[in-house]
Each structure stands twice: as C-alpha cells, then as structure tokens.
C-alpha cells in the first residue's frame, strides 16, 4: 500500500501553531459561508457560493476566435453537421474539465504545480512554456475581438484595447478571488446575448431537430476547408489553458472533496450554457449561408456588418457586443491562468487572494501577459488575421500532451486516493486524447499533402 499524501501533513496539534496568511483568511471567510449554508441545508444558496470555475472556464472558452469560428461555421455550412458536433465537443470538454475539479479539490494544488512536483521541473517548465506561448497568442486574439466588437460602435482601437486592459487591472486589484470571480461571471452572462441574435435570424426548428438526429447535411462534402473548420471547432472548445485555469481556480476558491459534486454541476452547467451560446452563434449566421455570402475571409466586425440586412441593426449590435463580451471574459480568465501557472512553477503563492505587495511577481506576470497582447494588437500591420486563424489549431495540437499529464495525475492513487479515475473515466479520457491526436495528425497530413482531400 502506497503512502497517502495526507499522512505527510503536520500533526493536527501542530497545525494550530502554524501562521495564518492573508490568503488563508480570505479563503476561510468564503469557506465559513459555505459551511454555514451546508449546515443550514440551503442548497440553492450553497450552489450559488460554490459555482464559478466551471461556468467561467466554459464561457471563457467561448472566446473571440471561437465565436468567429462558430460564425464562419454558420455562414459556410448552415444548419447541419456542426450543430451536433459542437454539442459533442462540449461533452468532451466536460469529460476533461471534470478531472481538473477532482484534482484541485483533492490535492489543493494547481495543474502546473502538480506537474512540477510529480514529474519534475523539466516537464513542468515544458508544460508552462506551451501554456505561456499559447496563452499569449490567444490573448492577442481576445483583444482583436474586443477591438472588433467595439469598433462596430466606432470606438477607437486604442481606447477599446486600453479600456479592456483597465478592466483586467481593476478585477485583479480587488485581490480577492470571490470578487474577481463575480465580476467575470457578470460579464460572462452576456455570452448568452447570441441567443436573441439567433432568434432574430429566424432559424427553422425542424431543420435544427433534423440536423441533431442526422448529423447532416454537409454542403460540399468532406473537403480540406471542412476539416480545418472541424479542427477550429474542436480548438474552440477543448484547450490547454482550460485545464490550468479550472484546477487552479478550484484551489483558489477553496473547494474540497465534499464540493466535488457541486463542481461537477458547475462544470456541466457551464458546458451546457456555452454549447447553447455556440450553437446560437452558428444559427445567427445561417442567413449569410442562405444568401450565399462568402464569409471565408470575414473577421469579427465583418460578420456584424454583413448581418445588418438579415437581422437588423439591433441584432447586429448585439452580435458586436457579444464579440466584446467573448473577448473580455477570455482575456480576464486566460491572463489569470498564465499567472496561476507562473506562480505554481516558480514556487510562489498562486492566488488572487494574496496581497499585491507580498506577491508582486504573480500580479506583474498577469498584467504583463495581458499588456503585451494588448500592445501587439495596436502594432500597425501586425499579422492579426493569421494569428486569429491559427490560434485554435495551436490549441488542438498542444492539447494531447496536456491531457496525458492530466490522465497520469488523475490516475495517481498516491495523491488522489479514492477520487482517482475509475475505468469508465479513463475510457472517456483516453478516447478524447486519441480523438485530439487524430485531429492534429489530420491537420498535419493536410498541410503536407494539401491535395489529398478535395479543396471545394
């Protein structure tokens, strides 16, 4: 029998002598509320206190490039294969993210911290490097979305980018995880703005139902652009930053094994809401498909402009606001995921509950990540269009190693004990990993042999 981690904790009597940090105090205040509502058996209030990381990670992943990807899907393929496919990708995202809830709640350590401790600094820094590179590119695309969304309302680029950066600064300046989480949740709710936009596009309900049952049609059949859009839709749902963010957020929020069931509901609810918003975005752009508008080179605000004749200026304005929301929520969550990983790998406190004056490098890294991305967007002639197109693909390619680390950790009985993966969990986890590797390899083959599939 292997030694369980809790046996290495200090003896209970010596725990009382340990110093209490500001971070501990803030987390304890949140947990005191949870304890009280659990004892008073108030399930709704308890769920309100415990929800957050799951909804944020899922709606955060409905980010700028994701919404552009869904809009392109609707404009290129209409109602068909991609509606059930998007639902499938969010089901995959749930399978993966649920494991991070258990890991965080049981070990009380973030994803980067666990990789570092269990596999060594070599693999820890590799994982951190993949994440930091992917996150920087993704953050650039979030600021592109923010700029495009507000550009529809004639807000100057510099003002929209600087304003978004100030929102990020304001949220972390609270130095309180709970407050930060509620600020971001209040922005994230507006991801559902795409639902009224879809309604304004007058989708045909029977077509939608038929698409979910038949997984079709696929206008033009399976060709190179179809496969790239499949990749882009996977990359819009399952990405490495999500693993790092949710596990660290679970730890920062102070969830424990008792809260795992609530964490699962939170994650499932997030996946459902995000899937609904994603499908709504596809449906909102179907009028462009039926009127044969070529949207293959469209960027953010182009979709809103092109939709004006079909859904009116109010619908188009809502679409543009949705793009801004997608960008700002993702910028808030992704910049924090970078800082969490930095804090964990460098052995600092990785908590937004820690005071700025005591944990300056953590906050500096967070703001530097967001600041550099914001500045890149403002550089004239920067290849922003290409970055937007490639960012989801990079996410798919970087995901298999990240999931393998996740599976190794969640099967590690020495740290997970009774919460380690069961056989069914591994079947799903390994299935998602193989699926992602095959998707990545297909992309590679398509790049080397572009004529293997028909081009149109």
């Amino acid at each position: 029998m292997k030694e369980r981690y809790h046996l290495r904790l200090p003896a209970p009597e010596s725990l009382k002598d340990l110093p209490i940090s500001q971070e501990d105090l803030k987390r304890a205040e949140d947990r005191r509320d949870v304890k009280r509502h659990r004892e008073e058996r108030r399930p709704i209030k308890l769920f309100w206190l415990l929800l957050g990381p799951g909804i944020l990670v899922m709606l955060g992943e409905n980010d700028g490039p994701s919404m552009i990807s869904y809009a392109t899907t609707g404009a290129t393929y209409g109602v068909g294969f991609f509606l059930p496919f998007i639902l499938l990708t969010f089901a995959m995202a749930y399978v993966v993210q649920e494991m991070t809830v258990r890991l965080g709640a049981v070990t009380k350590k973030g994803h980067a911290e666990l990789i570092n401790e269990r596999f060594g600094k070599f693999w820890g820094w590799f994982a951190m490097g993949d994440l930091a590179f992917g996150n920087l590119l993704t953050l650039v695309t979030e600021f592109i979305a923010i700029r495009a969304g507000l550009g529809f309302f004639h807000v100057p680029s510099a003002l929209s980018v600087f304003g978004a950066f100030l929102i990020i600064v304001g949220a972390v300046a609270t130095q309180r995880y709970w407050t930060w989480e509620r600020i971001v949740l209040s922005f994230a709710v507006f991801n559902l703005i795409f639902i009224p936009v879809a309604v304004l596009a007058h989708p045909v309900p029977t077509q939608i139902v038929k698409a979910f049952f038949s997984w079709g049609p696929i206008p033009g059949g399976v060709n190179a652009s179809f496969i790239l859009l499949v990749m882009s839709n996977i990359g819009a749902t399952v990405t490495p930053w999500m693993l790092f963010f949710q596990q660290s957020a679970v730890v920062d929020k102070g969830l424990t094994p008792t809260d795992i069931s609530h964490g699962r509901i939170d994650t499932a609810l997030g996946a459902l809401l995000a899937a609904i918003a994603a499908i709504a975005t596809v449906l909102a752009c179907v009028p462009l498909f039926t009127s044969h508008v070529d949207a293959s080179n469209f960027q953010g605000a182009d979709f809103a402009q092109a939709l004006v004749p079909h859904i009116g200026s109010i619908g188009a304005s809502l679409f543009a606001l949705g793009l801004f929301e997608a960008g700002i929520v993702a910028a808030l969550t992704i910049s924090l995921s970078s800082a969490y990983a930095f804090g964990e790998v460098t052995g600092r406190s990785a908590s937004i509950n820690s005071p700025i004056k005591e944990n300056l490098p953590f906050y500096a890294f967070l703001l530097a990540a967001a600041g550099i991305a914001a500045l890149l967007v403002l550089i004239p002639h920067a290849p922003l269009v290409f970055i937007t197109l490639i960012v989801n693909v990079i996410a798919v390619l970087a995901m298999p190693p990240a999931i393998v680390f996740l599976l190794l950790l969640v099967n590690d009985k020495e740290i997970m004990g009774e919460h380690a993966n069961r056989p069914l969990g591994n079947v799903f986890g390994i299935g998602v990993t193989i699926f992602l590797i095959l998707a990545g390899l297909t992309y590679g083959i398509l790049t080397i042999f572009p004529h293997l599939f028909p081009t149109s």
Binding site: Y5, P10, K108, R118, G254, L397, P401, E414, G444, T447
Partner: protein, 74 residues
C-alpha cells in the same frame, strides 16, 4: 511552503481558531504537503517524449503554414 515570510502573516497566538475550523489542514498556505517526484516507467517516459516530439513537429508545420501565408500570391 508558501507565504510563511509574508508581512501580513498572523501570529499563531492570534485568535484564528475559526480558520482551522473551516479550512482543511492542507488548505493552509504554510501547511501544503509536498507530494514528491513520481517514478516514471519507461513506457510513460516514452509516451511523454513522443508527444513532445509531436508538438515540436506540429509547430514546424505551423511555421511552414505561416511562411506559406506570407509568401502567397495576392
């Protein structure tokens, strides 16, 4: 161990019994256990290296795509 040298850390003599009451022991910044290195089998190490090479190859492919995009005829 984290934060034990932080200026805002409370002394153990402060009345923080309620903190110990609501937080699990390993949630305290000063009491987080170190799990230690896990012994990786040859198969696991091979898998990790294959995936690392896979990512590097894919980065090369993306770089090729970037090069192609910049040299594409208008």
């Amino acid at each position: 161990m984290k934060n034990t040298d932080a200026t805002s850390v409370s002394s153990p003599h402060d009345n923080h019994a309620w903190v110990h009451d609501v937080l699990e022991p390993d949630q305290l910044a000063a009491a987080k256990p170190q799990f230690g290195l896990r012994k990786l089998g040859a198969g696991t190490l091979l898998l990790l290296w294959i995936l690392r090479i896979y990512v590097l190859l894919m980065i090369l492919l993306i770089s090729y795509q970037v090069w192609k995009a910049f040299h594409a005829k208008p």
